[in-house]
């Protein structure tokens, strides 16, 4: 089973996007979201990102991480550095909302980690119109 970790500068986006992803999945996948600072303001708690990532790694076969702007990706990369670049964690280079939804669906279909990341990253070239 894979898990998806959603990171946003905004606690509301993190919460809302997790809800959207949960609605889309049918199979076995864990979805977690971290957003905002400890005080609930805009920002990211990089220590919480590290702890959440460790927890997901321990309880699933792999983790796909998606973030929005700037510091969420830095927080994720920092966590990977501190954990010694674990093979079963990937940051998807994808737009957050669409990427997280696609990754959740793909993971719930039982696809392997690399395939889930690839599908999420393909969202970058998706035409909406």
């Amino acid at each position: 089973m894979l898990s998806i970790l959603i990171l946003s500068h905004s606690p509301d986006i993190a919460r809302g996007l997790k809800e959207m992803c949960l609605q889309m999945i049918s199979g076995d996948v864990t979805i977690e979201a971290v957003g905002g600072t400890k005080e609930g303001n805009l920002g990211i708690d990089a220590e919480l990102v590290l702890n959440k990532l460790q927890e997901l790694m321990a309880n699933s076969d792999g983790v796909v991480v998606l973030g929005d702007i700037g510091s969420t990706i830095l927080a994720a990369k920092n966590a990977l550095n501190m954990l010694g670049f674990p093979a079963n964690v990937c940051i998807a280079d994808a737009p957050l909302v669409e990427g997280a939804v696609v990754a959740s669906v793909e993971a719930s279909l039982g696809s392997p980690l690399q395939e889930v990341v690839k599908k999420a990253e393909e969202v970058k070239s998706l035409n909406k119109l």
Binding site: T37, K38, G43, D45, A46, L50, G70, S71, L74, N81
Partner: protein, 210 residues
């Protein structure tokens, strides 16, 4: 040689500069970023001081690690992972030594620089903290390898950091939130370069006795 007390003093001085310049850093960040750098760094530094007094770490490496974790958890913006990485990398480089010499310190700062460059992928000229860090670390490393001591070169280090900080003003940002502004980022001093100037100034004041 610098023991744990020197590094505590460094953190205290850095925290003092961040508190005194909270509004200034936030104003710089409001011009080209999201306007939270001063508030974030001040909150981070206070959290670091709190953790230092509650956990009372004994070695320079433990002190730097404690500060790094506090910054990661409390800074909030991009500066959290970046400054967190600086202190964590320095902690790793110090290991469990009780005392740090000039060479150890130069190596640790070089590791910290590599850490932030790896994390943010910024190079000199991108209008970021790397614009201060890289020239200052290179200057320190070169001079210490040539047999000069940190107290001897402290004033030059601070002057160089200040010069490189001011040199970010005419640059166009190519990394971070400011890069979304394109040419409109020109004419503003980079807030991360500014807090980095306080970092080196604090280090020199604590260690060089300037």
């Amino acid at each position: 040689m610098y023991d744990a007390n020197y590094f505590r003093r460094f953190i205290e001085i850095f925290a003092k500069y961040l508190e005194e310049n909270k509004e200034y850093l936030t104003r710089l960040d409001a011009a080209i970023g999201d306007g939270d750098h001063g508030i974030n760094m001040d909150r981070g530094a206070k959290a670091a001081l709190d953790r230092l007094s509650s956990t009372n770490p004994k070695t320079p490496g433990e002190i730097m690690r404690t500060v790094g974790m506090a910054l990661l958890s409390s800074v909030g913006g991009a500066a959290g992972p970046l400054y967190g990485t600086i202190f964590m990398r320095m902690s790793l480089a110090f290991g469990n030594r009780d005392k740090i010499d000039d060479k150890n310190l130069a190596t640790a700062l070089e590791q910290a620089l590599l850490g932030i460059k790896g994390l943010g992928k910024a190079e000199v000229g991108d209008k970021t903290m790397v614009d201060v860090w890289e020239p200052v670390v290179n200057f320190l490393k070169e001079n210490i390898e040539n047999g000069r001591t940190l107290p001897e070169i402290c004033e030059e280090v601070v002057a160089l950091a200040e010069e490189r900080m001011k040199a970010t003003i005419p640059l166009q940002a190519r990394k971070g939130r400011a890069s979304y502004l394109g040419e409109r980022s020109i004419g503003h001093q980079d807030p991360g370069a500014t807090s980095s100037y306080y970092f080196f100034r604090s280090l020199c004041e604590a260690i060089g006795g300037r």
